[in-house]
């Protein structure tokens, strides 16, 4: 399952899959800025068929945090 989440993050941020870890952090690299974050949110919503709350979008500041927050939406990513 982690594999799928990593693929989604890599695709949205236009990064190589090997660059993705749970510790990768929003705004720590140029590829994950606020514009890319919106692309990522759209990818996540489409992939897992969820509609995220604004608070959760803000809180998704690492790949690990994304996985944790998705559990609230009954998604095991």
């Amino acid at each position: 399952m982690a594999e799928e989440l990593y693929e989604i993050v890599a695709k949205a941020l236009l990064l190589d899959r090997s660059a993705i870890t749970d510790d990768l952090t929003y705004n720590s690299i140029p590829e994950w800025d606020s514009v890319a974050h919106m692309a990522l949110i759209a990818e996540l919503e489409a992939a897992y068929d969820v509609m995220l709350d604004t608070d959760d979008i803000v809180a998704m500041s690492t790949v690990g945090a994304i996985r944790e927050i998705l559990k609230k939406y009954d998604v095991e990513a």
Binding site: V35, M38, E45, D53
Partner: protein, 251 residues
Amino acid sequence: MSKPDLLAGRVALVTGASRGIGQAIAKGLVEAGAEVWIAARTPGSLDAEAEALTAAGPGKAHAVYLDVGDPAAIKQTFALIQKTNRRLDILVNNAGILKASMIEMASVDMMDETYAVNLRSVLVSAQYAARLMARNGGGSIINLTSIMGRFGYAGQSVYSASKAGVIGATQSLAKEFAARQIRVNAVAPGAIDTSLIEGLSEEKRQETVSSIGMGRLGKPEDVAGLVVFLASDQSAYITGQVIGVDGGMVV
């Protein structure tokens, strides 16, 4: 009125669709082939309208009920569209309230309610619409403002402020969403012949008409025609604009 295939395959949401301008917009979009969610506050009030629009075609309509002043209800509505259609191409933020009051007599509650319904709803809806639209390569958001939001009107400070806010939101969202191919434009009607105008005295009505260069009140269809254009690919390179539909009215 429109080409029946102009918006074929497109999914739209129109708020405040139970009467007047919103009703005409919904009809215009269905006539252009779109699948339209028509929204109003009162449960059940649009069921018959949705059936009639679908029967007339070539697009179709579904009724959905929400108070746009309630952000949770906005979210539920977008979740419903996501679940049903998995896409949204057109959002028409038309729902609004107008409570005339001299500023010294305007209550804070009335101010807050007006901002929540007329302005905050536009911003909250944009949060959800942008994500749904971005998935399918873009979309068109059309916000209803008013001639009063552009030029002001005595006794309408609160309403005018909310509608001026809609213009600021439109221009900023257009810039923010441009890279995602989501266009955002505002339509600013003048005096349109709807139930809002019916309440005026004959004298006030005459006075209003005399301030309109073209010498007549606007029809809801006059506004709908522009909205259909802005919803379609005919306006593919137009974003961040505020377009008056006012017959040359001076306020």
